[in-house]
Amino acid sequence: MQIYLPIAETSVNAFTLLGVGGGVGVLSGMFGVGGGFLITPLLFFIGVPPAVAVATGVNQVVASSISGVLAHLKRKTVDLRMGTVLLIGGLFGSLLGIWFFNLMSRLGQIDLIVQLSYVIFLGIIGGLMLQESLRALMRSKNPNAARRKLHTHTWVHNLPMKMKFRTSGLYISVFPPLLVGVGVGILAAIMGVGGGFVLVPAMIYLLGMPTKVVIGTSLFQVTFVAAFTTMMHAVTNQSVDVMLAIFLILGGVIGAQVGTRLGVKLRAEQLRILLALLVLAVCGKIAFDLLWTPSELYSITVEGRF
């Protein structure tokens, strides 16, 4: 069954859309990842214009993180103060990203920018994930191996304008969280992702936040930044397609429930390797498209269309 997307002005198969949403939903339920970094490139592959894929992807992030953030707020595992600082940075970063996105659209380079960002970030995440899960697999076989130190003091803790973050038990400068927020905001606007994959490691290793508040706080920041970015895309370039969003969201929420159930039953360590390989495969496909001589050297952009 074909579904006509009024903003993208093309039709795509409804079951393919539900499948993309559902498949990524399963993964996000199993591994606790947002999945925006897989949804957007998968949308490119099925022929959704990149600008629409990015703006709609970020709308889908709101749907996939909203129930999580509510649950964490109830459990009080959100550092609201830290979340707010990250959010302020995030909103600023999102504005910056939107400006850059629209500039690149006008110059006819947005597809390239989006693809390049994906190659770089998927490459890094996929590589790190693979390394991490292989190491975890080794560790489970050899429990005597050295463990990573959890809390270390770095240059980050010596910057001015220190602020107390009681929930996290931190007394650090506001600049690192602000900058982390800005970075995540830029990624949200350009790549159509929540940015949790950058935010979570940054919070743990750079800011030294305790793990019990990391997920809740990152979801808090991601939800609001994604909502703001959706709004900005809708207002500045009209590229959010709600019809597309509904199918992705429906597939996603059902998939996430299945994924959560599966994640309990299956052995996550081996599966994490598969996820890493999947991320690397998507990265490889986009990289291939950029590097391989295209069969058609020309492309068309139409005024007022995507």
Partner: protein, 252 residues
């Protein structure tokens, strides 16, 4: 006798009206509904004749359907630092978003270059190039690329020999509007051709419109983008939160 002579002169002076085309379309509205997959349009008609069928020349029929024009930029990629990047852009002042020409025979054989220029029938003539970038070595390559890409997408169609003309009187052809067509008024022009010249022309319009919901969403997105953004967020929150609440309820 004199009256008859005058009549004969009139007919001689008006050879154009000797044959007249009458056209019907299977539909003159196309609705872009939620499950739109493209649409096929049947164009049929007849040739009305006051005089006897001329024996020394053959009659041909050309059908051209033209979608709303768009301003476009055609980009060419080149390899920079190992990756393929859009490096050159050429603007086109107006190119039809859809263009299909069907005819009884090869256009180059049945239509003179002059008549083609006057009526802008072949695809190449339907595109208006911008005056910029004329200093480029190969400006034509960009327009050719535009035609090539759109032909691959079914947006431009050159279908020579697909108009079926029976006994020089009844003709019919089928054209497919692909799923990627845009909204607007599509001009359908039908030409009768003899000896390379157009002897009669008929024009009618096909109205391509988004259906009610799609129309409403598009209008909202462009006219009230803030409200549209709120709608998108509301749907995300509603489905995202609603679905997990529903599943929690089902589990208990």
């Amino acid at each position: 006798m004199r009256a008859l002579l005058v009549l004969a002169f009139i007919f001689a002076a008006l050879p154009l009206r000797a044959e007249e085309v009458i056209v019907g379309l299977s539909q003159n509205r196309v609705s872009l509904t939620v499950n739109f997959e493209g649409s096929e349009i049947l164009i049929f008609g007849a040739v009305r004749r006051e005089l006897a069928l001329p024996e020394d020349s053959t009659l041909d029929v050309i059908v051209a359907i033209e979608g709303p024009p768009q301003q476009a930029t055609i980009w060419r990629k080149a390899r920079r630092a190992g990756i393929w990047v859009n490096t050159e852009g050429q603007e086109v002042r107006a190119a039809p978003s859809f263009y299909a020409v069907a005819s009884t025979g090869p256009l180059s054989e049945i239509l003179s270059a002059d008549a083609d220029l006057t009526h802008r029938i072949s695809t190449r003539l339907a595109i208006f190039e911008a005056r910029t970038g004329v200093d480029r070595a190969d400006p034509a390559a960009f327009t050719e690329a535009l035609i090539r890409i759109r032909e691959a997408e079914g947006l431009y169609q050159q279908r020579e020999g697909t108009v079926d003309l029976q006994r020089d009187t009844l003709f019919s052809t089928r054209l497919t509007l692909p799923k990627t067509i845009v909204e607007g008024s599509y001009a359908a022009r039908i030409f009768l051709v003899r000896d390379g010249d157009v002897i009669d022309e008929f024009e009618t319009f096909i109205d391509v419109r988004k259906a009610v919901l799609e129309r409403w969403l598009t209008n909202l997105a462009y006219d009230q983008p803030f409200l549209y953004g709120l709608l998108a967020l509301f749907l995300a929150v509603f489905f995202g939160w609603g679905a997990s609440a529903l599943f929690r309820l089902l589990r208990n």
